[in-house]
């Protein structure tokens, strides 16, 4: 994975010092709240409902053991002993004190971490596929491109005061596991007929108040032009994006108001003007970036005997078999697998991870996955490079640490925002709803019978949990000061391998429900699905299949009787 050199170290260190000075000026009153706001946000510091919140960047979700250990230490020394994995692959501390933040940032800098641009109206942390570099369906490894864009966007002088936040996702596989169509810019790396690498560029997708599936503005951008093209898009947005209304300030609104054709034209023109002045990414530059992500020293594995052994153990230990089926995925190197550690056991706030657990994960990664860890959009953790011969031992360890709940991709693998328990913007709590659902559906056989299904819960329209693109979305709304929940069905962000479905935004089921009715409603929706599900060519329909076939009215009828 990417390791800092002297330039990165210096830059992060100088950033820490700069923020120390800014915090001191704020504390002495030399900076007003309003002036300090963009400065602290661009260093990841929010003021939350109960305490400040510090969001720490995990560039495209990649971490290594020393970083996890440092996080464990920080959780214990500066917070309440745990942190949270966000849907954008970052880490969040919920209870630091403002005065401690410069020290936390300084500790993070020692392990090549920071909180730069994790918030504020700037280019945020780049997100990607947690299986980048190991997925069997990979076309181009996205990590080198993520790193190139990370560096380009970090402290970019022109784009630190945009109309609104700006999120970029990059994926390089045939299945889009990075939800590129729902980002301000989504880049899908592809190869041309001649084998040249480039990307398909999506602009103006997003969720929030106005969910939009991003249109494509360029079908094939040759890789050497990546940075000048990004610059052109950002410049058009920075100059012409709306600043009069926060809710209309995202690039998706600009694209919509200008029209895709005119917007693309404006970008094209800006790009033509700047591209000759801009350094191209030469093959040498790309190779240099690729070299940061060297292939681990994989061992030769006798696949036949290993697979036979796995089958045997799966029969002997059904729980292991279920885990293999749900939490373990294929790897491009024969004999290796990727393992997802579930942070969604019953009773755990989705994505929360304690200091002890961070250390356990670090330990597991050291022993079983070349010391690397990835965080996922679904708020779980991936050990990407596990030797199949180690799977059983790893499973035993994961089980005793509480990471082996075999529910990846199932109903209880809920994506949930911090909601009303933490977030100042919330209309309603989200974690208790997730807990209720997890408690109701803790019967593994029933979960498996339901099959692939996604359920996301956001505490308000900001949609941090991406409820619009879940098969079942739950949104907290405020009705005369009371917490209610709106349910949507049929969303899909194409991030769970369901390649036969297009990205879709869920439709509202009907009027909102109070919290205590939600379990019933979910039950009703699921029963309707099971009643109507059909089997075709030996395959049972997934929830999304059935929903798309029978449509919303039938679900409505059953729920609102």
């Amino acid at each position: 994975m990417y390791l800092y050199d002297k330039y990165d170290h210096k830059l992060v260190q100088e950033r820490v010092e700069q923020f120390e000075r800014q915090t001191a000026r704020f504390i002495t009153g030399d900076l007003t709240d309003e002036q300090f706001l963009p400065l602290r946000l661009q260093n990841g510091l929010y003021i939350q409902r109960h305490a400040p919140m510090l969001r720490i960047a995990v560039p495209y979700g990649m971490l290594r053991t020393a970083q996890l250990k440092k996080m464990a230490h920080i959780c214990r020394s500066y917070d309440k002993g745990y942190c949270h994995i966000t849907t954008r692959q970052n880490l969040q501390l919920n209870w630091p004190s403002i005065e401690d933040v410069p020290s936390i940032l300084s500790e993070l800098a020692h392990v090549e971490m920071h909180a730069i641009q994790t918030s504020g109206n700037c280019i945020r942390n780049i997100t990607s596929d947690p299986f980048a570099g190991v997925a069997p369906d990979e076309i181009v490894d996205s990590r080198p491109y993520c790193e190139i864009v990370r560096q380009w966007s970090t402290l970019h002088p022109e784009f630190a005061f945009l109309p609104r936040k700006f999120k970029i996702a990059i994926s390089g596989s045939s299945t889009d596991r990075a939800a590129t169509a729902f980002h301000d810019i989504g880049l899908q790396l592809i190869k041309s007929e001649t084998g040249a690498v480039g990307c398909k560029v999506f602009v103006g997708g997003g969720l929030g108040r106005t969910p939009i599936i991003a249109p494509v503005i360029c079908d094939f951008l040759p890789e050497q032009f990546l940075l000048s093209y990004l610059c052109a898009i950002l410049r058009v947005y920075n100059r012409f994006g709306r600043r009069d209304n926060k809710y209309k300030a995202r690039i998706k609104i600009l694209v919509k108001e200008m029209g895709v054709a005119d917007f693309s034209q404006a970008v094209e023109q800006e790009w033509q003007d700047i591209k000759s002045n801009y350094s191209l990414l030469s093959p040498k530059d790309i190779t240099q970036a690729q070299d940061y992500f060297s292939t681990p020293s994989y061992q030769p594995i006798d696949i036949r005997s290993t697979d036979a052994q796995l089958d045997h153990m799966a029969l002997k230990h059904p729980a292991f078999g279920r885990w293999l089926h749900r939490n373990v995925s294929h790897h491009k190197v024969p004999g290796y697998r990727s393992v997802t550690l579930s942070l969604k056991p019953t009773g755990n706030a989705p994505g929360d991870i304690s200091a002890e657990q961070l250390e356990t994960v670090a330990h597991l990664a050291e022993h079983f996955s070349f010391g690397e860890i990835r965080t996922t959009h679904q708020q779980n953790i991936v050990l990407a490079d596990v030797n199949s011969n180690d799977l059983f031992t790893l499973w035993q360890h994961a089980q005793s640490a509480g990471f082996a709940t075999p529910n990846i991709g199932t109903l209880t693998d809920i994506i949930c925002c911090p909601g009303g328990d933490y977030c100042a913007l919330a209309n309603a709590k989200s974690i208790p709803i997730a807990e209720k659902i997890q408690n109701t559906y803790d019967d593994i056989d029933y979960l498996y019978d339901l099959g692939e299904i996604s359920l996301n819960i956001s505490g308000c329209m900001n949609a941090c949990a991406h409820h619009h693109v879940a098969n079942i979305g739950i949104l907290g709304v405020d009705k005369k000061g009371k917490e209610f929940y709106q349910v949507t069905l049929g969303g899909n962000n194409n991030s769970r391998g369901s390649t036969n479905h297009k990205p879709a935004i869920g439709k509202v089921l009907g009027k909102a429900f109070p919290a205590d009715e939600i379990p019933n409603v979910i039950d009703c929706v699921l029963t309707t699905y099971l009643q109507h599900r059909i089997e075709e060519e030996g395959f049972l329909e997934s929830f999304l299949d059935t929903y798309e076939r029978i449509g919303m009215p039938i679900f409505k009828e059953h729920v609102y009787v």
Binding site: Y7, L11, Q151, L155, L162, L227, N238, R239, Y278
Partner: protein, 178 residues
């Protein structure tokens, strides 16, 4: 006369403003009104005029003011003045609020695309903390909002010693320097 930061130093600002931005802080001491035409009065020294003024009284201003500058808002369409750029010794870009980053893009465009060589000055509501970014977007002069921020602002020019991106004054991105 007020002080500004120019090329890294704190200096007296020897420019006046004609029709400055409405809430512009240096308005009071240095604003001048252009003479009515044909008064034969002395030429007005160094003045920065508004775009409206420039567009409506270009010939007269050229005759009466020397040297001349213009101030622009961040969203302005540069093509309106693109042919006039050689006349300007100064282009000032007005930031109505420190969170309004349009001027950063305009600065870059003027330097990169229109190869403007004169003084590029940031005016308006700015934080000293933005100095470093301003400099990298081609601004070599800044009129800070609050005179007590002058020293802080000058120091902030040295917040960082290296950068990832190519930018004005730094022609190679990091991946070419490693």
């Amino acid at each position: 006369m007020s002080k500004i930061i120019k090329d890294g130093d704190i200096v007296e600002d020897d420019w006046n403003y004609i029709d400055p931005p409405r809430d512009f802080h240096t308005v009071t001491p240095t604003t001048v009104t252009p003479q009515p035409p044909c008064t034969g009065g002395a030429a007005i020294p160094a003045a920065i005029v508004s775009l409206d003024h420039w567009l409506s009284q270009r010939t007269q201003l050229l005759a009466e003011i020397s040297p001349v500058g213009i101030w622009l808002e961040g969203h302005v369409d540069v093509s309106l003045v693109v042919d006039d750029l050689p006349f300007f010794d100064v282009i000032a870009i007005y930031f109505p609020s420190f969170s309004d980053g349009r001027g950063f893009s305009l600065g870059n465009q003027l330097r990169e695309r229109y190869t403007f060589q004169g003084e590029l000055r940031a005016i308006g509501n700015l934080l000293p903390d933005q100095m470093y970014y301003l400099h990298r977007c081609g601004f070599n002069a800044v009129d800070v909002t609050n005179p007590k921020d002058l020293h802080l602002a000058r120091e902030a020019l040295m917040d960082f010693s290296n950068n990832y991106q190519e930018s004005w004054g730094e022609d190679k991105p990091i991946f070419r320097r490693r």
